[in-house]
Symmetry: C2
Subunit: 250 residues, 2 copies
């Protein structure tokens, strides 16, 4: 099934941008009258009939739409420090999107080697991953913030709503410390909500101060088992653990 992506769907008219239009008309040779399927990146699939087959700007008439198409039954926000090589972060993003992910926050830790992060490329990768894995929702990539800023923004203390049933997790080694950690699987098994945030540190781990701030703001320290995982592998393992837990609740 071939999916197109458009942010410009209004009043029953869907417009594809130049890239998508070229792919639709030049590569796939679609013509006026053809039916195409378009995702809006926000969870809705639109079935449309083409009314203009210009390779510069395809237009189509919306025939029907389906909300929450290909959606997973929970919300997962991964806050992951940039990896030394960008391509490792990119495949994490692609795979996490295939499995089930809603938001990515690149977070810069005190021990992070890479302190700059470009979100544009990741966004492109997430759009193709969503299309490829038949999801109408494309995960949101936030602009980079420091670990400290992320914790203060998303921690329990800053929660505005009535009741906070989010699960806040931080994967931290706490080497040479006696902070009791439970396995992420065990903590997930005990969780009955649907809204999970996971903090994954840089190769050099979080600083002690960052970890203490996270705990003070309601993040639960978890470990990912005995294996020594790279940042992107740890992050993807957490995505899998959350996925298998949450689908087993259906």
């Amino acid at each position: 099934m071939e999916l197109f992506y458009s942010r410009d769907i209004e009043g029953g008219i869907c417009r594809l941008d130049q890239d998508e239009s070229g792919h639709c008309v030049k590569v796939l040779r679609h013509r006026n009258g053809d039916e195409i399927a378009v995702i809006d990146g926000c969870g809705t699939l639109y079935r449309c009939r083409m009314t203009s087959d210009s390779p510069k700007g395809v237009e189509a008439m919306v025939l029907s739409c389906e909300e929450n198409w290909g959606a997973h039954p929970y919300r997962l926000h991964m806050a992951v420090c940039p990896t030394k090589n960008n391509d490792r972060y990119e495949w994490f993003a692609e795979k996490a999107c295939e499995i089930g992910l809603d938001e990515i926050s690149p977070v810069i830790g005190e021990h992070s080697e890479r302190r700059v992060f470009k979100t544009a490329r990741i966004e492109k990768i997430l759009v193709s991953a969503a299309k490829q894995s038949l999801k109408a929702s494309v995960p949101v990539v936030h602009e980079p913030v420091t670990v400290r800023e992320f914790i203060l923004e998303h921690g329990r203390r800053s929660f505005a709503g009535a009741q906070d049933d989010r699960l806040l997790l931080i994967a931290y080694c706490f080497e040479d410390e006696n902070v009791p950690r439970r396995s992420i699987k065990e903590v997930l098994e005990g969780y009955e909500g649907q809204d999970i945030i996971v903090l994954i540190g840089p190769e050099g781990d979080f600083s002690k101060a960052e970890a203490e701030l996270a705990l003070a703001n309601g993040f639960i320290p978890v470990h990912l088992g005995p294996s020594r995982l790279r940042t992107e592998t740890a992050a993807l393992s957490a995505v899998s653990a959350a996925y298998f837990r949450m689908i087993s609740m259906e």
Copy 2:
């Protein structure tokens, strides 16, 4: 911690090949008398003292050794069809090794697009992944066989031992069929053994005949949840599911 890899450890003498020797002497500037740590790829870590610092062939005297160093408490054999792009198979191998893997069998299905597979490159990747994730055991990569051959070799019917407590799984869609499938997580939760084999099909899935042969040979059909995963993502998710299950038994 810097690890070297050698298959040539005998009579208390460890020899590094030319690549490893060059890295040891030219890059890391180790000299006679230095202590180095060497894995044999079979599960043992050797602490050695260098007696020759030739960049062509380092020799070292074994001081002590540690068996099952960085080992995981189970055996996992992944039989995975080649992906269209080799690099996708390569990252699966790297990540699976980091998390916990013992054997990889590239299997060629009736619906496989790629029918050739070079094991040499994957072996190199697995050696670096094992070193990087501090494991003394490097997963074994078998030569490619057909899915049919793999099933006949590893299925229940061919089992020679006294009691077969292996868990044999096949991830198959069984679209348009009424074969009941359980989630891989659910099946793993009910498993008390330590020896798991998982069959992961090509993009075009297994053929009906392959799936029936697998079931007839004791493979349990499992699904990986509602998400539509690429071959390599499905394979890595299965590795994570097995990992989180088996470490939770410790």
